[in-house]
Structure formats: C-alpha cells, structure tokens
Symmetry: D2
Subunit: 339 residues, 4 copies
C-alpha cells in the first residue's frame, strides 16, 4: 500500500483531485483521518501507483510512504489515530473501557432479561448472548437461532443494552444484522473468507475473534478482508490460543493486547471466559487485560452457571461479575481509563 499523508493545509479540492486521479487509474482510494491530517491509501502494484502519483504535484503538502506490513487498512501506518466505533451511546476504542457481558447461549426470554438487568446494574455496556451456536458436535444444542435473536431484541428494548451476537454463515448475515448491534465472528470462523467478505459488504460493527490456531498476523489479515470490502467498524478479540497446557482450556496471549494496539488502530477486546475456561481465573485475567491496554472485555455471565446449556463452567454469576467490575474500576483508573 502507498500512503499519501496530506497536511492539514490541504483543502478539500486538493484531496478530491488526488482521489479522482487514483480512481481514473483504476485503483480504489482509502481515506482516513488522524487528528486534522488526512491520509489516502492505495493498494496494488506499488511502482505503478507511484508512477501515477508522480503525475500530480504531490510533493507539496504531502508525504508519500509505503506500508511495511502485509495488512494495510488495519495498520497504524495507514491510520495513526485509534479507531473509535460508536454503538448507540457507547464508544469502543476511546478512553472508556467497554464491558460486554451475558450468557453464552440465549436460552429463553425471562432468563436473558434477568441476566441483562443484573449485568447492566453492575456496569455492563453491551449484552452478549449466542443465538447461533457453533458446536463441535452436531448433536449438541445449536442455539435458538432466529427465536434467540428476537429475544435479544426484546431484551434490548427493555434494558437499553445494545446486543452482540454471533453469525456463522454468510447467508445469515442479513438476518443477524437486522437484530444485532454488533456481529461476532467466532474463533472457528476467523478464516471463513466468504463470511468475512459478506460482513465486509455491510457497515455493521463486527467483533472478530482470533482463531485458536491463528497468528496475530493472520488475525489482522482477516480483519483486512472485512476492511477491504469497505466496512471500517472492526474490533479484534483475543480469546486464547491452543497450547499443550492442560489446566486451562486455552492460553490467553496477553502480549497480543499491546502488540495489536501498536501495529493496528483497531480496538482490542479480550474474552477471559474462553481465554481461560476456568471461572476462578477470570477476575485476575480480566484485570490483566485492562492493565495491558485492552479496550474492553467480553465476559460470560449466567444466573445459574451450573445449569447453563453451554459453557457454564466458565461463567460468572451476576454477583461475581459485580465484584469484578468494582475491581476493574480501580485498574482502569491506574491506566488512566474509565469504566
């Protein structure tokens, strides 16, 4: 990618002149703002793009660089300022830390509403809950599907909490998009490119989970699939990777947090529930995630973890979640953030 950084003094006319030059040459200009400077990224044959740009008197007021990373639109080189994604009144990626909490799977209306109210009271900003559940076994509970989505929408009406829920097939993107505020792409689908592209064609905020077998570069390349289709509202989620360790379900890669924040402008969310798979470890790991610079947490909360239809062993109960948010508030303050 060639990045053209324009000084604040460059007027709209100048910017649109460059954009039309790029478009006429058959390339797609990608625009971003950092403070009051503007950047235009162009992806493709770099020497050809440089030739085209040399036609323009770019030297004035502009600085032209190449990105060094295989991911382009996701990189800090393309956009210096943090991406901030707005979900109703909530901003993700800014100074506020976002708490997404709720049951692994939506089981019924009453239970979902009860959990939503309790987590909201404890400070949750967003309700999580699965309607489409990708399960290892075809014989396991696969979620309530559209019925689950409807429940989430009704609970949102009652509580005002925006809703995040998973989508597992390209053909469901439109359906899930009608009900959800944030689409979630699960770890198993991180490289389901048909799904990524379909979501890329919408403008829906999307939380992209790292595959349990995926490098951070691959996670960023999957984000690039969405971004390059035109959807800039991507959040990255660290949820643990597979290792030989047996005491935990996954090994949460805490270094991923500062590393992703350094090389990318996208918000970074941590899922300590899947990241550990052990209830008693969630508080400590949640605090660690905030201390490391995470923009938010995705936590499983259930009023009756023992009876949950899915993943109860890694769910907090609402009281434990309330206790945790109090502890998190202190950590947020220590890193100059707010909950």
């Amino acid at each position: 990618m060639i990045v053209i950084k324009l000084k604040p003094s460059a007027g709209i006319k100048r910017i649109s002149g460059i954009i039309s030059l790029i478009e006429k040459s058959g390339y797609t200009p990608h625009l971003s703002k950092s403070g009051n400077s503007t950047q235009i990224g162009v992806i493709g044959d770099e020497s050809d793009i440089m030739k085209i740009l040399s036609l323009d008197k770019l030297k004035k007021n502009a600085e032209i660089t190449k990105t060094s990373k295989p991911f382009k639109l996701a990189s800090r080189e393309y956009q210096r300022a943090d991406s901030i994604i707005k979900i109703g009144k909530t901003s993700i990626g800014g100074r506020n830390i976002v708490l997404m909490a709720g049951p692994c799977a939506v089981e019924n209306y009453e239970l979902t509403l009860a959990i939503a109210r309790l987590v909201k009271k404890s400070g949750a900003d967003i309700l999580r809950g699965g309607a489409f559940k990708p399960r290892t076994s075809p014989y396991s509970f696969q979620g309530l599907k559209e019925e689950g989505l409807k429940i989430l929408a009704r609970v949102r009406e009652q509580t005002g909490l925006p809703v995040i829920t998973e989508v597992i097939s390209p053909s469901d993107v439109a359906l899930v998009g009608r009900y959800a505020d944030i689409l979630q792409i699960g770890a198993r689908n991180m490289q389901n490119y048909a799904l990524l592209e379909e979501i890329g064609r919408t403008r829906k905020p999307v939380l992209l989970k790292r595959g349990m077998m995926s490098t951070l570069e691959e996670l960023l390349m999957s984000a690039e699939y969405i971004l390059s289709q035109g959807n800039p509202n991507v959040m990255l989620c660290e949820r643990g990777i597979r290792t030989f360790e047996k005491y935990t379900r996954n090994t949460l890669d805490i270094s991923a947090v500062p590393l992703l924040k350094q090389v990318s402008h996208l918000p970074v969310i941590v899922d300590p529930s899947h990241g550990t798979g052990v209830k008693s470890l969630i508080p400590a790991v949640s605090k660690a995630a905030l201390a490391a610079g995470a923009d938010g947490l995705l936590i499983e909360v259930h009023t009756n973890p023992e009876k949950a239809l899915s993943d109860g062993f890694q769910s907090l109960n609402p009281k434990e979640f309330g206790q945790l948010t109090r502890e998190l508030t202190a950590i947020a303050r220590a890193v100059d953030r707010k909950i």
Copy 2:
C-alpha cells in the same frame, strides 16, 4: 448412539421391521453393512431408545451396544468394515492406494492439461487443482473460480482423470458440485459448520482436511456433521498441524493415520505437500504415510514450481513425481497394498 447388530440370518423383513419401529418413535435409523452382517445405529436419548427397542423381540439374532465415542456414524463401533468410496473406476479405502496430484491452483487450460497428462502417466488416479483459493491475504490471487472449474472439467474430458477441488462457501456447493468429482474442505474450514451441513445434504464424495490446530476428535466430529446429514462419502485428510517447529511449514502428525484407521471406518488421505511445506521432504513423508496405512496421497505437482501462482516451493515437478511413484510402489507392496 445405540447400535443394533443383526446376524446374517436376519432377513429383510426383520430389518425393515426394526427400521419402521425406530422411525415411528421419531428417531432416524442409520444403516451400515460389514461383511454380511447389518448394523443399525440410532442417535439420541439412549435410555429412551433402549426402551423402544425392548418392545421388539430383539434378543434373537441381534446384539445391542452403545458407542463410547462422541463421534457416532464415523466410528468403527458403528461400522466395522472399511468404507470404500467409488469415484468412477477408482475405489478409495480399499486395497488400492490412490494418488491425487496436480497444481495448487488452476492457472489456465494448457498448463492444467499438461500437468494432468504427466501425472496420469506417472500413475496418478485423480487430478487435484484449486479454483477457489482461500488465501490469508485478501490481496493475493484467489483462484479462477468458475472459469477454473470449467478448465478442470475440460481436462477431465481429455484425460479421464476425476477431479478434486476445494469449495469454501455453502453457496458455492451446488456450483462446485456440478464440475467436481470430489469436494475438498480446506483446513481453515474444518469447523465451518454451515459448509459441512450443506455438503452433508449432497451425496458428493468429500475430502475433509484436518484444521491446522484441530484435534483428531474434532476432525471426526466435523466428519460427523457431514455424515449426520446423510452423506456417507467422507474421506479424512491429515495435512499437518501447527507447532513451534520452524524448519517445516506444518508438523505432519503421522500417528493420525493409524489412529484414525483404528477408531473410524473412513478412508484416510495424507497431504505431504502442506504437511511439510518443503519440497525435499515430500518423498520421504509420502513413503512414511503409506507405510503407516494411509489410503492415498494428495500431492502438489507443477511443471514449473518456481513460477506457480501459489505454493510453488512445496510442489514437485512431474519428473520428481514420477520418481516418487516408483518408490511408493515398493512401499505399497511391503504393506500388502497396490498402487
């Protein structure tokens, strides 16, 4: 799963009696044959199924067992005899070892035809070639798509070689199915359940690749997704897993071959090209795979590996492939198989 094994003496009337009993109770009977005995599998609440079966005078001529594994239809407990999948004149899973060879990606007609003729001459049974290419980067060559499928079909006409090619989205299953003899599910899609179910609803033979960080049990559970939809023509493929080792692209898990053959009746294919990612290691690892009991190999062959649009560094040239097949013939003989 409850498995009802009927002695050879059980007549068709007896078998269809049990089947209709099961169906009337709302369960789906799954039939398999091992030699001349018949087995019927029923998945669901095991105590309820046992109660239903007790209505029938099953004790005569039948043996009732429960499967111990989370995978059911894929297990040896359900079907003792090896599954044999017929692709034209080629049988996969029997005494013959099957060689699938060809380029990573279909690039054009002439090249594909040339490679197909050369690998056929050296003993290949099936032509491999990617038309839809799942690539880590959205900016990499993504395959010729339908044009690539048409090329494969024309080359099949010219050479008589059946064709295996990858499908990456549920919405492409019908399209790819019209051109291909075997559908391939890539490692990144091993837990793309929407894709598995869509393929499960066809009867197309399918080669299911192990995810690069998936356990063997998860591979079998993914096979179960296809089988439980009614498609029995599933082959499993070991293609290397991710480890810390840096000299190879992946670590080929050779134990997977005998292990899968022991717990499952499905054919097992090995992909030494992705399994090593290093051209010079492919011959030794191919021989190892046959010695360990693999039913076939999936090997990348290109007339000009250096110029291949994808994965040239791990492709053999046709001469090297010819040399390899001669060496494989000796190994096949040593384990009482044929090429």
Copy 3:
C-alpha cells in the same frame, strides 16, 4: 500426602508427640504454619500412614485430610498461608511487590555497577545478572562464570542490592551459593533433577523458571523436588511458553499467575523480558502481571541494549525502567499491593 491440621490449642508437646510417632514409623514429617494453626504433612503409602496415625488419639484437636494433587509440599492443601521468603530486608510473597532488574549477562564491573545504581534508584529491590549463561550454541558467549559472580558480590557491597543469578550444574551449586542471595534455575533446567535435588539440599532461596515446554503441573512437581529435599524457599517464575505465534519470542501465560497462586502457597514471579522477547511489549505485560496477582517481576535492564552481549533486543534502558516503575506503582495500588 496425609495432612494433619492441629488446632491452635495443640501445644508443643502434642505436636512433638505426633512428629516422633511419624519418625519412628520411618516417615518424614513436614511442618508448616498457617496463622496460628500447625500442619504436619506425611508423604507415602496413605493407608499405612492412616493406620499409624490411628494409634494416636488424633481425633482431638486435629483434622486429617488427603491432598488431591500430585504435588504435595507445594500445595495450598498442605500450607494455606502464602509462603514469604526473606532476602535481607526484602520479603517476597507478601504485600510488597518485588522488582528484580539488571543485565541479562554480567559483562564487567563498571557496567554492572552503573546499571545496579540506576535500577536501584528507580525502585529495584534485587539485582539480576547472569554469570553462567546457558546458550543454545556452544560457540556463543557463555558468561564470565566465577569472575561474574565476584563482580555481582562487589556490586552488592556497593549498592546493598541482593543478587539473583543462575546456576546450571549441580557441581556449581556450592560455588554460586557462596556469592548469590537467590539461585535461579533456568527454563532449560526445570527438569534437571540432579540440579533440583542439589539445590534442595541447601536452604538458599531459589527462583524456579517454568520450562518453555512444561505444564504448570510439571513446574509444581519440579518445585516439589526442591521442597522434598528440605529447602522451603522456592519461588515460581512464569517466563513464557512455546507456541506457534511468531511475533513474540514466547507466549507469556498470564493465567499461570492466578492459577499458581490458587493451587500453591509459593510466591510467583513473572519475567516479561523472556516472556515476550520484544522490548516494546514489556511495560504492558509487566502491568498485566501485577494486575493478575504476581508477587514480583524479573526484568532485563541494560544501559546500552544495542551493545549487550546477550538479549539486548529485549532489554529496557534505565530510563524506560524508571518510567515503568512509576506506572507499576499505580497498578500495585489498584490491587492493594505496594512497590
């Protein structure tokens, strides 16, 4: 292990009676205190030990339990209260968080002294520095050996900082023990049982690093090797494990911190330098470690990281270390600890 917990009311006579009963029977009693109750652990054939204990009128004032873990003396079941290890005026494992900082390798007296003074000024409690360096290549710099130990001792005299340094061979334990305040067992030697036993026979405080390939249970079992020889002064150190991720040298397992604290009473130290291998990630990961409950940090600091003889790429300079300690102070306060 059978654990006999005695109520505070049990007098010395009672305790010594039980101890002599155990010793007479050929077993070794292990004593620990939690608050004002006393526990005695006995390892061996559990039914035989129970029989012996039944001879004593133990029912009064005592509670007898079995440990459920394969590690015994390292377990919380054996000792409820946190182990606190005293190094001069510094306590490790209590409310205070301990910072161990210094160069990877001791290079010469002047440099070591300069670094020691700078890290002390920034709040370091203990000086780290390698005299014996286990290197992957026999042709790499292997440390100054005894000369390095002497330098460390002189620097301690000048600065008052206690010294931690690695020992790599059983035959060097006495030598290194004469100079060092804390012995370090490196990741490669975590299962060097001859070394563990030799150190177990001393009473020297020891920091045991987790092997890059070792589970937490194995780390605790290695601690058990030291403890069972009679040396109770063991600290555990998480320093990253091997995974497929390529951006970092190791994957720091943050969950290890709360997990080890839950199942064991031993202090837990984190090494963010080796745990990431990337300088820019050290501050975030250090903060995460404290937030997760670590009792201390082991950090590489060098005045001229670019010219360090070993591991410069993962060393902070003193100014960066100073900045980090200020940030850590805020985190410590947020989790009710002190630096």
Copy 4:
C-alpha cells in the same frame, strides 16, 4: 565455520601442514573424511581464519567454503558422508537398520534377562533399559541406579547384546560409561549443557533425544555441544514433541527424519514408544519411520506391560515385537535397507 576440502591427491604432508598452520594460529582443526577426500573445519572469526589460510598456497587442490548453518560439526557441509558409529559388531548409520529394544526401566535381573533373550531372538541388536529414571514426581520410582547398571552388564554378558541406558547428571557420566555401550540423553536433558559437555569429553557413543518442545535446530546445536568437545559418536533421536493433540502422548514429527538426514551426517533413530505413547500405534509409526529413512528404532518391550514399573501402557510384549520386526523387514527392503 570455514571448511577446507582437500582433493584425494592431497598427501598427508599437505594435510598436516594445514593442520599445524591452524593450530599455530590458536584455532582447533576438525578433520573429517568423505570417500577419499578430506575436510578440515575451523570454527571462529571467519575473516581472521580466511586471512590465516591465505598464507598457505591453498588454492591448489583445495576448495574453501563457509557453512551456512549455526551448527557446524553436525552439518553435511562439514561432513558429506554419513557418520557410522560402531557398537561391537553393530554399525549405526549405514545400510543396516538397528533395533534397540527392552524395558523402560530395569526392574530386576531375571526379568531383564528374559526380555533381552526374547527381543534378541526377534532381531533386536541392542538392549535398552533405564537404571536412572528422570521422573516428573520426586515420589515416583527413580530406577535401580548402579544396581540397574550391573544388571544390564550381566545381561549383556549372557546375551551378547550391547546396552543403551540413560545418564541424567554430569557426575554420573563416568559411572554409567563404565557399564553402558551407549549413553542416552533424555528429552528433559537435551539442553543440560553441563551434561552434554561432560559426555562430549568422553568418546562414548551417545543417543541424544530431542526435547519435547525443542526445534530441530536446537537439537543439532545440542549435538554440537557434544561434538565440539571432541566426541564424534552422536546419534539423534526423534521421540515426539508436545502439541495440543490429546489422543497421543506426543506428536511424532516424521519430517524430522528426512530433514535431519539432509542437513546432518549423524545417524537418526526414532522412538515410537514415547513418540506416540499408545501401544496400538507403535507398529504403524515404526514402519513409517523406516520408510522415511530412519537408521534405527528404540522400542519399549516388556514381558508383562500391565505390571511394568514405568510406561507399561506404551510397551509391546515380545510377541508383538516379533510380529513387528517381520513387518519392518519388508519395509526395510522397500527402501533398500536391511534389518
């Protein structure tokens, strides 16, 4: 390393002239023979060595190259011909494939003798058996130590089978060396440099096992520790690495076999017992190892696996071992080797 390759025509006088030039300059010349050409390797500052060599009229009859790998004496660049290690009448690394078999741990004389006789009858060349057992738990059976060594020596007298046994501490090298024909370095000690150096100072044949999370390059660097001390009799052993897979104890890295043979001249042995940890997989994996080019196998055999004091679940009984050797003979023939 600078490698000076001398043509067959170079006489002894010429060779010794170069050697004394190198020695006078303070370097150590390493000699090896490939066919009838001679190679001299010199490790150190390469530009300095080149300057010294330019004093000699080396251009005649000599070719000077640099090795590209971090391992030097272990590399094929230093020695083109396969290393062949003689143990009595047995040669390891040549056309013959070597079978090392026996119990995990030496338990007593009678049992060891019985197993030795049975495996010898089935074609074993060397008896394996552990006297010093490195166990994860300090409370597990640690081997019979010197008594076990004496048993092995007596069994060798009775059967004529040379003996391989593990050494776990530098201070035991002399002791174990007095009894054993081959020293074994276990996976946990692959980077126990004090042990490697101690063994390097002897001339005892040594089998170096790959660490369970060590790269192949690290394995070769550990071999280099031994070689650089002057002991050329090193065999490498692949015994499985740690991965996330749960059905097997370790994941045997079959690619390691051809890879090590390509980059190094040292013999490569495979341990299918630890490499799988599952008895039923050992035959298939053993055949795969030979097909991939292994020079030998190290297999656990016990007359009563269920009652073995260590690792019985992965031991064959003598009858199974006999059946396996017959199958291996066919594979050996297929790759033009002999058993």
